[in-house]
């Protein structure tokens, strides 16, 4: 598999704010790649650099081997971007919008493909409706359609499901998954971590303009310990200090991070010996949210070490 997107040592500052602080990433052809991070981490800036909307101060970026500055025409032909903001041109209908967007990419007579996209995004009935008359979710679909008119091998979706209802979200992911299975490389930024966990094969986490974690989704989940035990004690009884030190509290419950099931028995024995009575108990598997919180709090999960 070749390299779909290469990002090397990219630095970008806006005034005194260093939005990207030496980001390097390589994404292979056919990957479903997740780009996660809190607001202001630099995700959109990175995507904008890739799309040529923002010019990096240092570093290079390429799409399917084409440099985004030196060879911008070829690079942009190979990239489809769904922007984060819900933008639209109020003068045109859905079909006009898509025809015009095709023309910008040098494609004429694109109606067969446009029809196919419209159908897949459930937009066929809205084809001749003016953009202004569409609901927010419908406008979002048109944005996705616009990014696909030129059949780009690399598709970037910048928070495509923000403010979108469940039905559209499901439909959208089904379509994007299909595109991915047909060979399109997909890069996704999202705030919905369960989406990233379900869809992305590999994930990079950004914090303050740096990549702080980069691994397959499976490895990230595995490396960050296995399970958590959530406990609630009757009458708010206090734990002995030794046990108390191992727990964190979340919404009034005690949370123990476990690396294996063999830790459970001694833990429960300790609680019993202290005379505490358990009111509620839950054992949960680590999800991407735990990893995300851990990474953002500075736990190193990218180096291969298994943190506790």
């Amino acid at each position: 598999m070749g390299v779909a997107v290469s990002i090397q040592q990219v630095v970008k500052s806006f005034g005194s704010l260093r939005a990207l602080d030496g980001v390097s990433l390589e994404i292979a052809e056919g990957e479903f790649f997740g780009l996660l991070g809190p607001n202001g981490a630099g995700k959109t800036t990175l995507i904008s650099c890739l799309a040529g909307l923002v010019r990096p101060d240092q570093g290079t970026l390429s799409v399917m081997g084409c440099d985004v500055l030196a060879d911008y025409r070829e690079a942009r032909r190979r990239l489809g971007v769904v922007p984060q903001e819900l933008v639209f041109d109020p003068f045109f209908s859905v079909r006009e919008t898509l025809r015009i967007q095709s023309g910008y990419f040098g494609i004429r007579h694109n109606d067969d493909w446009i029809d196919e996209i419209l159908e897949n995004l459930d937009l066929t009935a809205k084809a001749d409706v003016n953009m202004r008359r569409l609901s927010g979710g419908m406008k979002r679909r048109v944005l996705v359609a616009q990014a696909l008119v030129h059949k780009p091998p690399v598709i970037v979706l910048d928070e495509p499901t923000a403010g979108v209802d469940v039905e559209l979200r499901q439909g959208l992911w089904q379509f994007v998954r299909r595109l991915n299975s047909e060979g399109h490389t997909v890069i996704l930024t999202t705030h919905y971590l369960e989406e990233a966990e379900a869809l992305c094969g590999r994930i990079a986490m950004l914090k303050q303009g740096r990549v702080v974690a980069l691994d397959t989704t499976g490895n990230l989940l595995a490396r960050f310990s296995g399970h958590t035990l959530n406990l609630r004690l009757k009458n708010g009884a206090a734990l002995p200090d030794a046990l108390r030190a191992r727990a964190t509290t979340s919404l009034g419950a005690l949370v123990f991070r476990l690396t294996g099931f063999d830790e459970i028995e001694p833990l429960l024995a300790g609680i019993r010996q202290a005379g505490c009575v358990i009111d509620d108990l839950r054992l949960t598997q680590t999800d991407l949210e735990d990893v995300f919180v851990g990474v953002m709090q500075g736990v190193d999960v990218g180096s291969g070490a298994a943190p506790r």
Binding site: V81, F92, E96, I100, G103, Y104, H150
Partner: protein, 250 residues
């Protein structure tokens, strides 16, 4: 070339879809100017041996060309910047030269369309002659190009609608109104006459009017030289801005 053609098509479609506001309205405005001024002045005033109404018509035509060319590119850009839809033209592989050409040609076409409309609406009110149609066309086209290009600069520079309105009201309006649309600069006091010679719009109007009557304040060749040089200066500036990505690509 498909990128350029599509962007041009989109820009033309954009104003054409609201042509009542972008074409018909300025034609009506020009007609009102003419009716009022000719009513007051036609009996008393002749300019260079031409009846005042006839003198005024070409002035109003070219003024409409210039103002509407400016309005087209500037409003299109500021709208798409404010709404964010400018990304649709920044993401595709469109070169800055194609970008420049599409917006300027569309602006020029809107200007010419309005100008032609004004000519149709007012031409029957006074005996007009067309001594040198070539000059008429040349000054209308280059004038529209200059203002379309200037409109791009304003649209790129302005972050808000009121900044653009400032540019339009405090620069474009005075330049076009104080350029000899309504009078021959020979009727001005010497100081204002000299000052008018620094206004490139004066040459556009003077040369344009020469095409109708064969008389002008300045030789048409001189006007053409000034107008062509102005176009080069404005176009070069616009191209440099687009190339640098100023306020479009950060």
């Amino acid at each position: 070339m498909t990128g350029f053609r599509t962007l041009l098509y989109k820009e033309v479609l954009r104003f054409w879809k609201v042509s009542f506001q972008t074409v018909a309205a300025p034609v009506l405005t020009a007609l009102l100017y003419l009716l009022i001024f000719s009513h007051v002045l036609d009996a008393q005033v002749q300019v260079n041996g031409v009846r005042y109404t006839a003198f005024l018509i070409p002035g109003l035509v070219i003024m409409s060309v210039l103002q509407n060319a400016f309005a087209n590119s500037s409003s299109s850009l500021i709208q798409s910047k404010v709404t964010g839809s400018v990304v649709f033209v920044l993401l595709p592989p469109i070169s800055y030269v194609e970008f420049f050409l599409a917006y300027s040609v569309a602006a020029m076409l809107r200007g010419l369309m309005v100008g032609f409309g004004v000519l149709l609406a007012t031409g029957w009110l006074a005996p007009l002659t067309f001594v040198a149609p070539g000059w008429i066309l040349v000054f209308a086209v280059i004038g529209g190009g200059i203002m379309g290009s200037l409109g791009m600069i304003a649209g790129i520079w302005a972050d808000k609608f009121d900044q653009l309105a400032g540019f339009q009201n405090f620069l474009i309006m005075p330049l076009t109104m104080l350029s000899g649309v309504f009078y021959s600069i020979h009727s001005l006091p010497p100081f204002w006459q000299r000052l008018s010679h620094f206004n490139p719009v004066f040459y556009m109007i003077d040369g344009f009017r020469y095409g109708f009557f064969g008389v002008s304040d300045v030789a048409p060749g001189t006007s053409l030289a000034v107008v062509a040089a102005s176009f080069l200066a404005v176009a070069t500036t616009t191209l440099a801005l687009l190339r640098s990505g100023y306020k479009l690509r950060y």
